[in-house]
């Protein structure tokens, strides 16, 4: 599996289309941390939430690095389309994790508010959870499932909007609205805010795997 992840990361490195979402996210971090961004956890909910659609798009781009004959040969070499999906998801997650590290590091350097170790761990977990959610959602709008770029962009935007507008819709709302006003949240709140996103991501990946096995 590690060979397949390395292969997809290498293909991603050759694609210029990876640059816009990465730059967009870094630009967002630049804007947020240009002035006093506020207490550590509330600002982290925003930077983590922004990572979800970026990760979803990265997953789509990873799947698009191979055209159909090459993608089919990868699936056969790996043993199944599900393994190929997991390899793609892992590769997209690696890029998402790198952005998570960039976000946490940027906050530590640029935000004047205190960042004790427990807060750093929570901030990191929030970002990684949204990466997993984004990668899973991205798998539903990526080959072998049929979705044009326009349809994929609309689908991801709708999920983001719904999750922003309705305060219980995962994966963004529980993160944004349960932690935003709490400087040091309780364990249960953290569990809900962080834990729901990987569950959403996992379910989305499972759905993409099931649908992909039929689509080829």
């Amino acid at each position: 599996m590690s060979a397949a992840v390395a292969y997809y990361l290498r293909l991603l490195a050759y694609r210029q289309s990876v640059i816009p979402p990465v730059l967009l996210y870094l630009a967002l971090l630049g804007m947020i941390f240009a002035t006093d961004a506020g207490p550590a956890v509330p600002v982290a909910t925003v930077t983590a939430a922004a990572l979800m659609p970026v990760s979803a798009w990265l997953m789509r781009l990873t799947a698009l690095t191979e055209t159909r004959p090459f993608a089919e040969m990868s699936a056969v070499a790996l043993g199944s389309a599900t393994r190929r999906l997991l390899a793609r998801a892992a590769a997209a997650s690696v890029v998402g994790m790198a952005l998570s590290v960039a976000s946490v590091a940027w906050a530590l350097v640029a935000n004047p508010h205190p960042y004790p170790m427990t807060t750093v761990a929570l901030v990191g977990a929030l970002h990684l959870a949204q990466v997993v959610a984004g990668v899973g959602i991205g798998a539903l709008v990526a080959p072998p499932l049929r979705a044009t770029s326009g349809l994929a962009a609309v689908a991801i935007s709708v999920i983001v909007l719904l999750s922003l507008l309705i305060r219980w819709v995962p994966p963004l709302a529980p993160t944004l609205y349960h932690l935003e006003r709490t400087p040091l949240p309780g364990a249960l709140t953290v569990l809900l805010a962080v834990g729901q996103a990987p569950i959403v991501g996992g379910l989305a990946l499972a759905a993409a795997a099931a649908l992909g096995r039929r689509a080829g």
Binding site: A3, M73, A75, A77, G216
Partner: protein, 243 residues
């Protein structure tokens, strides 16, 4: 087994075939007959709606050619990645296959290569790695005469090493190495018989669903194919001996 794409009529129905180790099965049929779907099912790229596919050993698979550009990766790097993904770190036989097909330099990015050269890279990727089952969808398309001869030799070598080989072939080149022949029409397997060495006939017709039937079949299977075609409501347009 049976397969249908979502919301569409079955592409394949009641297909039952077996390919033994060392056998080369050539699959014939007109456009839209279901050859590519059959091969994708055998390779495991698609799952049958009903029935099962059982393969012994690692699968080597050459998908149907596409006009989409390949990844911006050197052919040698892609072949090495394919080996590592298949758990075989030593990819020397795939590179050797590529060289035998006339591609000496595998370091150029694949998106700069000609269509024919990419076809050779894909063929090297499929035939290398000592597969136990080799599934090739139109392997001779876009190949020049020399590369076709090498491709036939690679198929024979794989079968000689004990691989079960399934080749879909629109151009009749596989007849030189096929030990058995299957003909698909309208998603059904209409004939499976002996391959090279036995006299063959070329049958052209139209199946009941309007799809074309264009198949080279063993002469002793001719009457069965014609009867089946007519009984299903199709038409026979031409039957001629293959020299």
């Amino acid at each position: 087994m049976r397969y249908s794409y979502r919301g569409a009529a079955p592409v394949l129905a009641d297909v039952d075939l077996a390919v033994e180790a060392g056998e080369v099965l050539a699959v014939h049929g007109g456009n839209g007959a279901g050859k590519t779907t059959l091969l994708r099912l055998i390779a495991g790229v698609l799952l049958p709606r009903a029935g099962t596919v059982r393969c012994q050993g690692r699968i080597g698979y050459l998908p149907q050619r596409s006009d989409e550009p390949p990844p911006r990766l050197a052919a040698s790097a892609w072949l090495a990645a394919l080996d590592r993904m298949g758990g075989r770190p030593d990819g020397s036989d795939r590179l050797a296959a590529l060289r035998s097909l006339g591609v000496q330099d595998g370091t150029a990015p694949m998106d700069t290569l000609s269509v024919g050269t990419v076809a050779k890279v894909l063929l090297a990727g499929a035939t290398g790695g000592s597969p136990g089952v080799l599934v090739l969808d139109e392997p001779f398309a876009a190949l020049d005469a020399d590369a076709r001869a090498v491709a036939l030799a690679l198929i024979e070598a794989a079968a000689g090493d004990g691989a079960a080989v399934v080749v879909s072939d629109h151009e009749g080149a596989a007849a030189h190495v096929a030990t058995s022949v299957a003909t698909i029409s309208g998603g059904r397997l209409v004939v499976q018989g002996a391959g090279h060495g036995s006299p063959s006939v070329h049958v052209v017709g139209v199946a009941a669903d309007g799809s074309s039937v264009d198949a080279v079949v063993p002469a002793d299977e001719r009457d069965r194919l014609l009867l089946q075609l007519l009984r299903d409501g199709g038409q026979v347009l031409r039957v001629e001996d293959v020299p």
